[in-house]
């Protein structure tokens, strides 16, 4: 169980602290995407597409389309931030910057590097969601959305947990893909379809998609956020998010360690 204990050891925190230091130094560029992305999405999907859709039915009552996608945006931001951080940024640190190799010459071990990447992606996703949530609160204040804004802080621990689970998934491809160009495979075959077909931007009605989404943590995350922010069932989706995230971590972190031991250490 040393792989699990490593999650709370100081070396993993030292790795997270290194990533945070880089992020905060570039705050002026790092804060822009999460602030601008929801604005773009709300304008494109909400105002643009929303002009045609106007409203749809959620839990038996009509909901404005912009209000419907706002929680989806938060779930989408959690997923994309964590997965892209553990796919591309981690791959660059591993392969091109050789940051991992430098860390491994110290008291940091591979299990700390892996947990450091996972925890950092979870933390980064949480910070992104805070910014997206602030933008959404502004829209709500302007009367463009109808959400229970005061409940937004409740989402943060859920975002962190789900972000860590998504990061474990992303890191698995980082361990497997031979070059950065190969990242197109998981991005187009898994990440984008999963991001769009998880009730994030529109409700799902096709029975196959509904069945598949039973084991899709992003679907449960979007539905959970929707339940918290605009009213609806929460507990089942929350239990599914936490359960599936723990499952992803419990299966993929040891697998990632095994794959990366071979790739990074040559063992």
């Amino acid at each position: 169980m040393s792989w699990l204990i490593a999650a709370v050891e100081w070396q993993s925190r030292a790795v997270v602290s290194r990533h945070l230091r880089v992020y905060l130094r570039n705050w002026h560029t790092a804060f822009l995407p999460p602030a601008l992305e929801p604005v773009t999405m709300l304008v494109a999907f909400g105002v643009g597409l929303g002009g045609y859709v106007a409203s749809l039915t959620w839990q038996g009552r009509p909901v404005e389309y912009m209000t419907y996608i706002a929680p989806g945006l938060l779930a989408y931001a959690t997923f994309m931030t964590a997965v892209f951080q553990s796919l591309f940024a981690a791959f660059i640190r591993m392969r091109y910057q050789r940051t991992w190799e430098g860390q491994l010459t110290t008291q940091v071990e591979l299990r700390h590097v892996v947990w450091g990447e996972v925890l950092w992606a979870g933390l980064l996703a949480t910070m992104y969601v805070v910014i997206v949530a602030a933008v959404l609160a502004g829209f709500d204040l302007a009367g463009l959305l109808d959400m229970r804004t005061e409940r937004l802080p409740l989402l943060l621990p859920i975002v962190f947990m789900a972000g860590c689970g998504f990061a474990a998934l992303g890191l698995c491809f980082t361990a497997l893909m031979p070059t950065i160009d190969h990242m197109n495979l998981p991005v187009f075959l898994l990440v984008l379809p999963m991001g769009l077909l998880s009730s994030t931007y529109f409700p799902l009605e096709h029975p196959v998609l509904i069945a598949l989404n039973g084991i899709n943590p992003l679907y449960h995350l979007a539905q959970c956020f929707r339940g918290i922010l605009i009213g609806g069932p929460v507990l089942d989706h929350l239990a599914a998010v936490l359960g599936l995230s723990l499952l992803l971590l419990g299966i993929l972190v040891p697998l990632n360690l095994r794959l990366l031991r071979r790739r990074v250490l040559g063992d």
Binding site: A14, R18, Q97, T105, V108, G266
Partner: protein, 300 residues
């Protein structure tokens, strides 16, 4: 007093192959041990086991009295590693590279600001403290790599080909620094492909071939044991005659370099060679570690 590094009977299999086969290595305080061998001899794998990157399949490694397999974290507190490739953190400046690296050690290095300033000064990096490492020349990058390996005041330093790719002036600069570190009491394990570097810096050599230690001792002793007392250099056009003479002495064909045969011989063999080829023009020189590498790479 126990040795700083004491590695016994190391064995490692990689890809189903026995890459390291029973290697022993000892390094004391104020000693530089040169770890040599041709490509594929098992140097890098041995080194990676010694600094805790890889776990040996068999054998034990003690660093400063702590067994690596039992308490890797504590053992690694005494180790500094300068890898062959530049692995500094490109997201940080030269100075920040030292402070960030210090954050990966517990107990934390005391007086860190003073230690960083001291290293920047000593390694001639103070003028570049706020620059990104990629703006440095090759020689200064290596200086940064060594400085970073020392930030937590280790007792044992691993230098994996520290001067590869450097110009002669930069190489000599690194030699001076390494020599100074030995004088301060560090134990140093050095791998290099530059034979003059190994001969000048190392107090003791360990030579690997096919995953095994084939010689150890001083450069002179190792050469005497494995190569011979002299090397006869003769034009390759006399190859047939030389091969016949070597065959009569139960020896294999010698190395051929740029149209000349380099024949390692003992004192007695040299006298016999002179009697056998009285009219041949040849040169006699002292053997170097290059001869040793040539011999090892030719041996099956």
């Amino acid at each position: 007093m126990s040795a700083l590094l004491d590695a016994r009977s190391l064995v490692k299999h990689l890809g189903g192959r026995r890459v390291v086969d029973g290697v022993d290595l000892v390094c004391e305080t104020r000693q530089i041990v040169g770890l040599l061998g041709p490509n594929g001899a098992g140097k890098t794998t041995t080194l990676r086991m010694l600094y805790g990157f890889l776990r040996p399949d068999e054998g034990r490694i003690h660093v400063d009295g702590v067994e690596l397999g039992r308490d890797l974290v504590r053992a690694k507190r005494s180790i500094g590693v300068c890898t062959q490739e530049d692995t500094f953190d490109g997201d940080f400046t030269v100075e920040q590279n030292l402070t960030v690296a210090a954050g990966y050690f517990r107990p934390r290095p005391t007086g860190l600001a003073r230690r960083v300033a001291e290293l920047l000064e000593r390694f001639d990096l103070a003028a570049y403290a706020r620059e990104k490492p990629e703006t440095l020349s090759g020689g200064y990058r290596r200086r940064l790599m060594i400085a970073r390996a020392l930030v937590h005041r280790p007792r044992l330093l691993f230098l994996d080909e520290p001067t590869t790719g450097l110009d002669p002036q930069a190489r000599m600069g690194v030699w001076d620094l390494v020599d100074g570190l030995r004088a301060e009491g560090l134990g140093i394990i050095l791998t290099t492909h530059y034979m003059d570097e190994a001969e000048r810096l190392s107090d003791a050599l360990t030579v690997l071939a096919h995953g095994r230690v084939v010689a150890r001792g001083t450069a002179k002793g190792v050469l005497g044991d494995l190569v011979g007392e002299h090397v006869v250099v003769v034009a390759a056009t006399h190859g047939e005659a030389i091969a016949g003479w070597l065959g009569a002495h139960g020896r294999r064909e010698p190395a051929s370099v740029l149209g000349a045969l380099h024949v390692p011989v003992s004192g007695e063999e040299l006298a016999d060679f002179a009697r056998a080829f009285p009219s041949l023009r040849y040169e006699v020189r002292v053997p170097t570690l290059d001869d040793l590498f040539l011999k090892l790479s030719l041996s099956p």
